[in-house]
């Protein structure tokens, strides 16, 4: 089984990536990077990462979230985060990244925020 599973679905013009597993150095980080690059190549620039199933993230995974955020923002798009686990929320708080990312607990609210 892959370290990180990513399921893609479309909600209007927002692409939602439902993620489960680990975003860690190696396979997990690469899977996220590959998915974001492909979406940008397809012109999909409004992206919501549903992290409910992400059990673990390391500094490499956090770096990949930052890299994704920067790539999408530079392409004129928006990246938002949904359903952070408490541990991920804690990590983003201590790294001060919670002030950078737009974070939601409700998918409907998150999707509305793109409009």
């Amino acid at each position: 089984m892959a370290e990180l599973n990513i399921n893609e679905r479309q909600a209007g013009d927002v692409t939602v990536l439902d993620m489960s597993g680990k975003i860690t150095i190696g396979e997990g980080s690469v899977a996220l990077r590959t998915a974001i690059r492909r979406l940008l190549e397809e012109g999909k620039k409004r992206i919501l990462l549903n992290l409910a199933g992400v059990s673990y993230i390391d500094s490499s995974g956090i770096g990949e979230l930052v890299s994704s955020f920067t790539a999408i923002t530079n392409a004129g798009g928006q990246l938002k985060l949904l359903n952070l686990t408490q541990k991920l929320q804690d990590l983003l708080t201590i790294t001060k990244l919670l002030t950078v990312f737009d974070v939601y607990e409700s998918e409907a609210e998150a999707l509305n925020s793109f409009k």
Binding site: T24, I25, G26, D58, S59, S60, I62, G63, E64, V66, S67, F69, T70, K87, L91, I94, T95, K96, L97, T99, V100
Partner: protein, 137 residues
Amino acid sequence: MTVETTELSLPSRIDTVATAAAAVAEFVGRSGMSEEAAFGIDMAVREAVTNAVLHGNRQDEEKTVDLTLKSSPDALEISVHDQGPGFNPEEVPDPTAQENILKTSGRGIFFMRTFMDEVNWLIRPSGGTTVRMVKRR
């Protein structure tokens, strides 16, 4: 509680991070640390081994990453040794400084210091760096 010591010698590959983390998790489980402490130790070990593989040994498979795990009644001590040239930890920029927040790397040592009670580095004149991390009970 008796003192227990375990030593591991692993190749300088990315998959060594997960191997080391699994071995440490088993050791921590036997040592009776809290779940919260175990989470922090896991984070710190993954970051220390990542640094040893990437920055210390530069993924040279001729070089090993060596771990020593010690459990005592007072604390758990983990040392990670690589064969790289060493670095000055004081020169590593603060990843939470405003100008560094959006950097894509540089948070590993910050996590090690956040989750462990003591973190120090020993640069050996003969070559190699050891990071020693302590989590008190």
